[in-house]
Amino acid sequence: MKPVTVLEAIDQALAEEMAHDPRVILMGEGVATKRKALLAEFGADRVRNTPLAEGIIAGTAVGAAATGLRPVIDLLFAPFLCYAMDELVNSAGKLRYLSGGQFAFPLVAIAMTGAGWGVGAQHNHNIEAWFVHTPGLKVVMPSSVADFKSLLKAAIRDDNPVLFFVDIGLAHTEGELPAQEAAVRLGEAVVRRIGEDATLISYAKTVGVCERAAAVLAEEGVSAEVLDLRTLKPLDEAAVLASVRRTGRAVVVHEASRNCGVGAEIAAMLTEQTWATLKGPVLRVGGPDAPAPASYPLEQAYVPQVEDVVSSVRRLTRSAAAA
């Protein structure tokens, strides 16, 4: 099968879901301009350009979702979600609960983020943890071409609001789509590499960093498992716990800043639930508490590197050996 890029996989998912369900519509800044094939296939009624106004795009999606449509909105870059926070957090996340279950909000908000294009902190800010910390929202951040397609389809079919983050650095990477598409549900992590001595827990672009780190570690005789979370909420706690109970060592790796990030939550969970089997502290490799710079070397310094992950695992395995 011909390889496709992540962006093409996203387009395929959108096209298939729009064909599957006439209630699915796509709105955003330039969606009709840039996604000509979708516009041609589904028409201007269902593929809608909008004003450059994220708040009203999100609000319109929330109102439409509660009353019979299944909107997908493209908000372009994650920092732009700040303009849409009331609609996503206070409305989509809370009005089902506050109304005693009278409404559901089947909508997907897509946004890109992450280092790789040197766009700077107002286009690159990994804010996924904000939404994990918010009730009523699901958060997806895939790493593979196949997952981008199958998880976007699953997100569109989900009856809840889903934040779907696209790592900029992965946008043009190519991959094969399986001939027989696997039905992936939200909330299922996947083991990318089996290992026995340590678990590298990650999502999005840094899954690749972990896989390369695992290859380096293998040459040193350390067998590292790589777990791709894929969905940050609901979090596949069972998969995380099962892996770490087996390996006894965990390093959480993500590009978002460490403080109060997803890694902090996972480290706390592992401490609470796997203390007896842990052979060392749960370590985190993540970005600094700084805005993401545009300058290439600074941007690269921001992002977790293979060496950072390798040295974290070495710290854990050597302290165990010393003990």
Binding site: T50, D86, N90, L98, S99, F105, P135
Partner: protein, 326 residues
């Protein structure tokens, strides 16, 4: 008691007495809610005392297929639409029999069966959601118009402008109802706007508008009826501004120490209930004895609502974890 908790949309006929008794119901409901707060430790609440004519006049003009989005001052809109005072008060007290099972409290009450959807207490929140609800109406071939209630405070939010612009561009069936009550929480409107009128802000977006005396229920009903006809005929949104006044404070309890007493007194003279009562007495549609009997009847209804609400149990603690996800 069961008859008290119906969910039927009220259908207003031509009888002007219906407008009056609905306003009286709202007034007594809100004053009771404030009293329960003051004397029985009920949670604080926002009232719209003084704005009853706007709520009743607009809702009376709506059809059963039309939808309503409202805000933290929603009791008038809900009761005019036919909400049970018992269930509404139970909700305000956080009880199981409330419209939202007690999870809303008084601030964000939705009653989907009445077409009152997605109530948001974030000022301006309803303006951002109305476009989506109207888009569903438009795309799914439903004929109902979306009536969106907001205040002059919300008109100063960016979402007001985003909402009007998008609704105009997409020709969404929205009746924007600005209840200009002169107060934006604790700040007088004259401190925050250079114009006296929100309606003037509609025209640059290509939206027709009208301004009406928001304390004259029949004038509001007539203006809303015309606005709805315009929306249905032209396929474009419309903004109706009702000039009214919030006679109580922002959030109970509130001593209104920040309110100009002369201004308050002048608006008390324009009380929408007194105005309608005087008119109907003058027209011989009701006499004083009839009015007194009506007052007693509504007071009994509110008494029964209070009994029902206070007797309603709190939700089970397990409800903390329900209705988070679909």
């Amino acid at each position: 008691m069961l008859a008290e908790v119906n969910v039927t949309i009220r259908r207003f006929g031509a009888d002007p007495l219906e407008l009056l008794n609905t306003m009286m119901l709202i007034r007594m409901y809100e004053e009771r809610a404030a009293l329960l707060q003051r004397e029985s430790g009920a949670p604080g609440t926002c009232t719209a005392v003084g704005q009853e004519a706007t709520a009743v006049g607009v809702v009376a003009a709506l059809g059963v297929d039309d939808l309503i989005l409202t805000n933290h001052r929603s009791a008038g809109h809900l009761l005019a639409r036919g909400a049970s005072p018992s269930r509404l008060l139970a909700e305000a007290l956080g009880r199981r029999d409330g419209y939202c099972g007690g999870k809303s409290g008084s601030l964000h009450v939705s009653a989907r069966d009445l077409g009152v959807v997605l109530t948001s207490t974030i000022v301006g929140g309803e303006l951002a959601l109305a476009t989506g609800v109207a888009l569903s109406q438009q795309m799914l071939g439903r004929t109902g118009v979306v009536a969106c209630f907001f205040g002059d405070g919300a008109a100063c939010e960016g979402r007001f402008h985003e909402s009007l612009n998008l609704a105009a561009v997409w020709r969404l069936p929205i009746l924007y109802v600005c209840e200009n009550n002169e107060w934006q929480a604790f700040v007088h409107r004259r401190e925050t706007m250079l114009t006296d009128s929100v309606a003037a802000w509609a025209q640059p977006y290509g939206i027709d508008s009208a301004t009406v005396d928001g304390n004259d229920v029949e004038a509001v009903r007539a203006a809303a009826t015309e606005a709805l006809a315009s929306i249905r005929k032209n396929g474009r949104p419309f903004l109706l501004e009702a000039q009214t006044y919030r006679l109580r404070g922002h959030f109970e309890p509130d001593d209104q120490g920040y309110v100009d007493q002369q201004e308050l007194a002048s608006w008390r003279l324009r009380d929408p209930l007194s105005k309608m009562q005087a008119r109907l007495l003058d027209q011989g549609i009701i006499d004083q004895a009839g009015l007194d009997a009506l007052s007693v009847e509504i007071a009994q209804c509110i008494d029964a609502a209070a009994v029902f609400a206070i007797a309603s149990p709190y939700p089970a603690v397990a409800e903390l974890h329900t209705d988070i996800f679909a």
